[in-house]
């Protein structure tokens, strides 16, 4: 039981077919506008990664190279940033990200039980993606919703004070 989920989740799964593999000209323009907010353009790199990832689903080696060109830095610098932060992905992900908080306040109120039961419900292991590419399910380390435990984040939305039935319903309704 103790070792369960104790390896950092890696995600993984099929790439949704409709994701572009290149940075669009609109996104590139948005990135260039973001650069204006910072004394040096690299300040906009995290924002740029969010913008690109929202289009492509993850940051491939090719996309890192393209971004490196925009920022005048090495692709390894971009990949170094991608690998450092939990919210950037190096591999294809499900269409929806579901993260159940498993830090102490949530664990005390059943967060890990909820995660285990949702894994069983979807038929996935820790950090895995459903075979239809719909959902990547993982744990997260404290989402700042400690009084409303247990809770999960679905893409950018928090669902708090959950019970299992509510949580299953939320997952089942994802497209």
């Amino acid at each position: 039981m103790v070792s369960k989920g104790s390896e950092p989740s890696q995600g993984g799964g099929p790439l949704a077919e409709d994701r572009p593999a290149r940075i669009s000209s609109e996104t590139r323009a948005k990135i260039e506008a973001e650069m204006e907010n910072f004394p040096v353009k690299r300040g906009a790199l995290l924002n740029a990664l969010y913008l690109v990832q929202s289009e492509t689903g993850y940051i491939s080696q090719e996309l890192a190279k393209e971004l490196a060109g925009i920022f005048d830095i090495q692709p390894a610098d971009v990949l170094g940033v991608v690998s450092f932060y939990n919210m950037f992905y190096e591999k294809p992900q499900g269409r929806h990200h579901v993260h159940v908080c498993t830090n102490l306040s949530c664990s005390l109120r059943g967060g890990r039980t909820l995660l285990r039961e949702l894994e069983e419900h979807l038929g996935v292991g820790p950090g895995e993606t459903t075979s239809d590419g719909r959902v990547t399910l993982g744990h997260e380390e404290c989402l700042g919703a400690c009084a409303y435990a247990p809770m999960m984040r679905v893409d950018e939305t928090y669902h708090e004070d959950l019970d299992l039935e509510q949580a299953k319903k939320i997952l089942d309704e994802l497209e």
Partner: protein
């Protein structure tokens, strides 16, 4: 849904009112008068002296005097100066900055303006943790409105003072709550903390003089300017003035946020405000201020929540995130959760931290499985003592302190696992 605080004071008084988040609603409740007063009637030095004299301690965890921190900013320099607002709120058990942003963003902007005036900063970067997508949206909307109505930009409130505010979203790394890790991340890099000195006031965001303060710290400032330091000192203790927002979670009847004076006892917070443990069970232990703060056992909850008293019990108020554990809780499982978190979040720069957090986690998990030895318990304490204070930033301390606290007050929980060869707390939460 994020509920407004159950107990309010000056900071959260209007948080039940949606209009308070808008410029007009905020102004109608006396907002922006303090920033106007500071910019038009006070010199930057006068503002710094007033805030210093109020005794306002940083509310992000370290508790450093905010006015004193502002005074470190160089006065004679041609370099641009920056303020940085730390809204990373990554310490598990903490969720107060979120409500300060969602319900009181104009109050925060006013605090930033006063801080900017005092330190001569031309721009503020608000660094919000990546998971806080909704708070980031609320913050951006409030900033956009403040620009539109002349409370930010080239001519703030017609005073000629210029200030810009930019939101930077983090991307899921605990270490970016550490101020120099945050600065690296703000610059678009891996969030690995810097060696200090130089401190941010000399070499901060983008290499420029910078001051980093927590969301709550800035939010107190307008009230201090408006009412004075004597007024502020009527709340709290002599050494720790003002109120703070305690966030209570875990095994309590009424988890939530409570704005109370510093120095309120932990007992009052847990039993009166959060209404104690459900179903008549007893408290076993309480973590007073986020997972990195050493735990206190049930018999020590009469301590006032102010650092001068907490230090006597070998802990600190940290972020004010109070986590309550009932009598059925296995403290080795608690150690498993916390040590895994620090192992996962170590940035990997310093050997003691990178290796030490992993070793501690492995030993604790071994003990929980029933496969540990008495020697393991000693080794665990030894590692915690050796990573503490040995690294570039305070992360290793934050990883060591909870382990030391658990061993100090609940060593018998660890010993029982070894003696029995299994976890003796079947009713405890699932790992």
């Amino acid at each position: 849904m994020l509920t407004v605080p159950y107990v309010t004071n000056y900071l959260t008084e209007h948080f039940g009112d949606d209009a308070f988040a808008t410029v007009d609603g905020y102004v109608a409740r006396g907002g922006y008068a303090a920033a106007r007063k500071a910019i038009t009637e006070m010199s930057p030095d006068q503002v710094i002296e007033l805030v210093k004299g109020s005794g306002l301690q940083g509310r992000g965890g370290a508790g450093f005097n905010a006015g004193l921190k502002w005074s470190f900013m160089p006065k004679k320099t041609d370099l641009p100066k920056f303020l940085v607002c730390n809204a990373d709120e990554s310490e598990p058990g903490s969720f107060k900055d979120r409500i300060l942003i969602e319900r009181g963003p104009q109050q925060l902007i006013e605090g930033l303006l006063i801080g900017a005036w005092a330190t001569g900063s031309e721009k503020t970067f608000i660094y919000i943790r990546g998971e806080y997508a909704y708070p980031a949206k609320c913050m951006q909307a409030a900033i956009d409105e403040a620009y539109q109505k002349g409370y930010l930009g080239n001519d703030v409130m017609g005073t000629g003072f210029r200030h810009d505010v930019v939101v930077q979203r983090g991307a899921g790394a605990y270490i970016c709550g550490e101020e120099t890790g945050l600065l690296e991340s703000l610059e678009g890099k891996r969030g690995q903390p810097r060696k200090k000195p130089p401190f941010p006031a000399q070499y901060g965001a983008f290499g420029m003089p910078s001051t980093v303060n927590n969301v709550e710290t800035f939010s107190h400032v307008p009230h201090i300017i408006k009412h004075g330091s004597d007024w502020f000192r009527q709340f709290g203790t002599e050494k720790s003035p003002g109120t703070t927002i305690f966030g209570v979670s875990g095994h309590v009847v009424r988890p939530g946020l409570f704005e109370l004076p510093l120095g309120t006892t932990l007992e009052e917070i847990v039993f009166e405000h959060a209404r104690g443990v459900p179903d008549g069970r007893k408290v076993k232990g309480v973590i007073p201020g986020g997972v990195s703060m050493p735990i206190l056992p049930a018999g020590m909850l009469d301590v006032p929540m102010a650092n001068e008293f907490m230090q006597e019990r070998q802990t600190m108020i940290g972020t004010g995130g109070v986590m309550v554990m009932d009598e059925a809780t296995c403290m080795v499982r608690v150690a498993c959760v916390i040590s895994y978190f620090f192992r996962d979040e170590s940035c990997g720069q310093c050997t003691q931290c990178r290796e030490g957090t992993g070793w501690m986690n492995k030993i604790i998990e071994r003990i929980e499985r029933g496969a540990g030895s008495m020697e393991d318990i000693d080794v665990l304490g030894d590692i915690a003592g050796k990573v503490e204070g040995a690294t570039i930033c305070a992360f290793a301390d934050a990883a060591a302190w909870p382990v030391q606290g658990l061993l100090r007050h609940f060593r018998s929980d660890f010993e029982q696992h070894v003696t029995l060869g299994k976890c003796p707390f079947p009713e405890s939460f699932e790992l």
